[in-house]
Point group: C2
Chain length 378, copies 2
C-alpha cells in the first residue's frame, strides 16, 4: 500500500477545508510584490502598489528626512536605500499624505498611537541582537492591577534560560521605553530578549530578570506624553508602589540595591532621572540614554537631588555604574545629556559618558543595552 | 519649602529632554481625529484623513462585503456601523486600493503576510474575553530550535495564575491558529489568555497550560498556505517531534493522553484532523473548528483513519470530547464540517456539533474556545 499512502494525504489535505472563500478578482502587480527586499550589498528596496497615488514618501530611522519613491509603469512605487549596516530598522510610507504601513511586511514596531514597520539587514554587526540558535529566555506578557492608576496594566518580563525549574534568585534590571512606545517596545524593536540571550550565551552578562514596564501614563487630553511632571510622578509612583513590589513578590529575585538596575531611553531616561537619584537605597546601576537635564533646569535638578549630588563619597560607594549615552546627531538630548554630565562632574559624582554616532533612534538604544547589560551586577 | 517642592518638579520635568525634535508643520484635521470611536449605542465610527483620495472602503469581520466611506469637507473619510454586539472585531481600510491600517489605532491583529487593526466594543457580551481585574496568567513568548525545520521557531505559552512558584503539574491544551495568522494570533485577536483567566476566576475551567505554536510552515513560493498536505505533514512532525517534547521537558505538565487536548481553527482544524485521529494515545480532547472533510475526500479520510473510525468502542473510550464547531454562514467549512460529522456518525464515533451564527471569523473562534475549554480535563 505505499502508493496509496503517498497519494492519500494530498487528496485529504486538498479537501480539508481551511480558508474563507475569496472573491474572484483580477491579478495585480501587488500579488507578487516583495517589500522590503534586502540585496546582498545591503541596499534595501521598498515597494508599494499604489497606481492612483500622486506622491509616495518613506520615513525611517536609517534616513535623514524623507525619501521620495518613484512610480514604475505598473503603478508600483519604489525606493532603494544606500547600503545599510546590518541592524534592525523601522519605516513607514506616506501615500498622498496618509501614513501607510507596508502591506507586504507584517513586522511591526508597536506604538501607543500608531505603529511602524520594522525589518532586519542581517549580518555580523547585527549578530548581538539576532535570533540565534542559543538558549533563549522567555519574554512574558504580564497583567497586574495597578493601585495607583486603578486600572489593569501590562508589562513584559524577560526571564533568562534556566529560570523555570530552577531555584536560583536573580538580580533585576528595570528597562524603560520612550515616548510613543509601550511595554512591548523593548522586546520588539528593542530586541531586548535576544540581546540578553546572546550576551548570556557568550558569558558576557550575568543572568538577570529584565522588567519592561509600561511607562506611558494616562494624561488629560492635549497634555504632552513626555516632559510632563505629572506623568513622571505617576510613573515613579507606579514603579515604587506596584511594579517593583509585584516583581519581588512573584519572581525569584535578589531584592536589594546591589541587585537592582534601572535604565531608560528618552522619556524613560527622564523617568530614570526622576526616580533613581532620589531613591538611593533602590538602584546600584543607573542608565540615562538620550535624555538629561537642560541648562535652565539645572538649579531645580540640583535642589531636588541634593542628597544624591552633595554627598559624592556616599553616592559613589552606592552607585556602581552611572552610564549616560547619547547620539551625536541628537541635538537637544545631546545638549541635555552633556549638561547632566557637567552637573554630575561638578558634584564629583562618578559617571561614564558614551557619545555614539547617529540620532534619537533604536539603533543607538539597542547598542546601549548591549554595552550596559555587560556591566551589571558584577 | 512646600512651594518650591511643588514647583520644581514641573520645571525639571519640562526640561528633561525626552523626545526627538519634530519639524514645524501646519496643523491638519488628522491631529485631533479619533478612530475608531465607539458610541454608547455601540455604533462604531471609523475615520481616516485622506484629502487626496478618490475612494476609501472598509473591510472587517463585522461587515458582509466592504463599506464605502464618505468624505467630509475637511478631507476626513468616515463610516458609522450598525450597533455591534460587544466583542472584539478587526478591520482595515483600502485607500484608493492600497491596504491601509488605521493611523489612529495602534491595536493590531498580527498576520504572516500583513496585519489588520482590532478594536473592542465593551459590554456584558464581551466580559468573557475582556481584560478584567481577576488573577491573570502569563503569556510567554518562547523560542526553540526546530529540528524538523532547521530554524528557530516561536510559540506562545499561557501558564495559569499560580503556576510560578507552585509545584503542581498541569494538563496541556495545544491550540492551533488558522492560515494567515501565526503563533501570536490566539493571544492577540484570539484573546486566549483573557478567556482562560476569566474561566479560571469563575471556576468554570480546570487550570491548564495552553500552548499556541506557529502552524505556518515554510513552503515553496506560490504554494498555498493551507490545504497543503506537505505543510500539514510538516506541522504534524513539528508538533510531535519538537513542540510537545519541548513543552513536556520545560513545563510542569501531566504528560499523558487524559491530560492533553488539541483544537484548531480553519487551517489549524485541518492540522488537528491530520494529527489527532492517527495518534490516539496522545489526545483525549479534540476540537475541529471551521474545518472538516469534503465529500470527495471522505474515502481517503476514512482509509487514513481506519484505526480511529473502525473501532468506535475503543475510540469512544479514549476520546472524551470531540467538539466540532462552525458558523452557519461559512459555506465551504460548514459543508465540510457537517460532512465530518456524518463520517463520524456513520462509524459510531461520538461527537458534538455546534453550529453558531456568523461566518469564518474570530468572533466564532473565541466563543468556541470559551465553550470547549470548560469541557477539558474533567
Amino acid at each position: 500500500m505505499p502508493f496509496r499512502v503517498l497519494v492519500a494525504p494530498a487528496l485529504l489535505a486538498a479537501a480539508l477545508f481551511a480558508q474563507s472563500p475569496q472573491p474572484q478578482r483580477t491579478p495585480t502587480p501587488n500579488d507578487t510584490l516583495v517589500s522590503p527586499e534586502v540585496a546582498p550589498d545591503h541596499r534595501v528596496t521598498f515597494r508599494i502598489y499604489a497606481p492612483k497615488a500622486s506622491e509616495v514618501t518613506l520615513g525611517g530611522d536609517f534616513l535623514t528626512g524623507r525619501a521620495k519613491l518613484e512610480k514604475d509603469e505598473k503603478g508600483v512605487w519604489w525606493f532603494t536605500s544606500e547600503p545599510l549596516t546590518p541592524d534592525f530598522y523601522n519605516y513607514s510610507f506616506l501615500v498622498d499624505g496618509v501614513k501607510t504601513l507596508d502591506p507586504k511586511n507584517p513586522q511591526i514596531k508597536p506604538g501607543t498611537t500608531s505603529n511602524d514597520n520594522m525589518f532586519e539587514v542581517p549580518g555580523p554587526e547585527a549578530a548581538f541582537e539576532d535570533t540565534l540558535p542559543v538558549p533563549h529566555g522567555e519574554v512574558r506578557i504580564v497583567w497586574y492591577q495597578s493601585s495607583t492608576l486603578d486600572a489593569m496594566r501590562s508589562m513584559r518580563i524577560y526571564t533568562p534560560p534556566g529560570y523555570d525549574g530552577g531555584t536560583a534568585r536573580y538580580p533585576v534590571f528595570y528597562l524603560l521605553h520612550g515616548g510613543g512606545d509601550d511595554d512591548a517596545g523593548w522586546s520588539t524593536m528593542g530586541r531586548a530578549g535576544f540581546i540578553l540571550d546572546n550576551l548570556l550565551a557568550a558569558k558576557k552578562a550575568k543572568p538577570m530578570i529584565v522588567v519592561m514596564p509600561n511607562g506611558s501614563m494616562p494624561r488629560p487630553a492635549g497634555a504632552p506624553a513626555v516632559g510632563n511632571a505629572g506623568a513622571q510622578d505617576k510613573f515613579a509612583d507606579e514603579l515604587l508602589k506596584n511594579i517593583i513590589p509585584y516583581v519581588e513578590k512573584n519572581y525569584r529575585v535578589l531584592a536589594n540595591r546591589e541587585n537592582r538596575a534601572i535604565a531608560g531611553l528618552s522619556m524613560g531616561g527622564g523617568q530614570t532621572l526622576r526616580v533613581a537619584p532620589r531613591n538611593p537605597d533602590l538602584f546600584a546601576y543607573i542608565g540615562v540614554w538620550s535624555a538629561g537635564v537642560s541648562a535652565q533646569a539645572t538649579a531645580s535638578f540640583e535642589e531636588l537631588n541634593s542628597a544624591f549630588l552633595d554627598h559624592p563619597e556616599k553616592t559613589n560607594r552606592s552607585v556602581k555604574v552611572l552610564w549616560i549615552g547619547v547620539g551625536e546627531k541628537d541635538p537637544l538630548a545631546n545638549t541635555s545629556s552633556k549638561n547632566l554630565v557637567a552637573v554630575l562632574n561638578r558634584h564629583g559624582i562618578k559617571n561614564e559618558f558614551h557619545e555614539s554616532p547617529g540620532a534619537h533612534t533604536w539603533i543607538n538604544w539597542r547598542h546601549y543595552l548591549n554595552d550596559y547589560a555587560q556591566l551589571l551586577f558584577r
